[in-house]
Symmetry: C2
Subunit: 137 residues, 2 copies
């Protein structure tokens, strides 16, 4: 039996926020977009259909929670949710706060331009704000 | 009280497949990608969070069903799922079968190139195949 381990590229591109009951929550290191990534902490997942129905229900609620919290901590005209996996196959769900006129508007964030790393203090403050609202403090 | 009506751009870009308990299922008129769009048939929805939790659970299962059926009827290396809404604000979820090397690979389909309309006979056959598997025949 294999255990969960986070894909190396996902780990390199993000910072740890917290673990929800099913998913690990990560903050993408791209200051252009407030952008969370949820990774269900189960081994060998690539598609949403690799989850059991009850796990899919939990994932959906964790997506909704993260979407709400992103809207509380960051400006947002629209939340974008996506599970693509064309490059990183480990199942992961993007939850991104979009603002009209942002660096990729109205296109998708995936594959758009080059990530702009966070100032480290800003990132720490954002992670603290997210953790507090996710009840992890 | 307003009732459900399909956004005009979504209607123009797609063909009707069937109505599931929550969502209208549409086939995007783009032969480059086997591409379904699910539109919950409730008024005034823009975000996943505008649905009740039970409705979100139903939506997730309808996404999973459509993903499975797309994989049955079309070649697929990866299923992409996305709810963006930057251009069309009515809540809708894309479920797209991707093949390595397809016209947008490994990038997202949204905003990529120009749609290639289906041959009408091919499209009719695909819609019939989808309806049969969705139990709508």
């Amino acid at each position: 039996m294999t255990s969960f381990s986070l894909d190396e590229k996902l780990a390199a591109d993000t910072a740890f926020v917290c673990d929800l009951p099913l998913s690990r929550v990560l903050l993408m290191n791209d200051a252009r977009f407030p952008w969370l990534v949820l990774v269900p902490r189960l081994p060998d997942l690539a598609e949403i259909n690799d989850l059991a129905a009850s796990e899919r229900g939990t994932l959906m609620e964790e997506i909704a929670t993260c979407a709400n919290i992103l809207r509380e901590v960051a400006p947002s005209d629209k939340i974008n949710v996506g599970a693509l996996g064309n490059i990183v196959r480990q199942l992961h769900v993007h939850v991104v706060a979009r603002v009209e006129g942002d660096a990729a508007w109205p296109g998708p964030v995936w594959g758009s331009g080059t990530a702009k790393p966070y100032d480290e203090n800003w990132r720490r403050g954002m992670i603290d704000a997210l953790r507090t609202r996710l009840g992890m403090d």
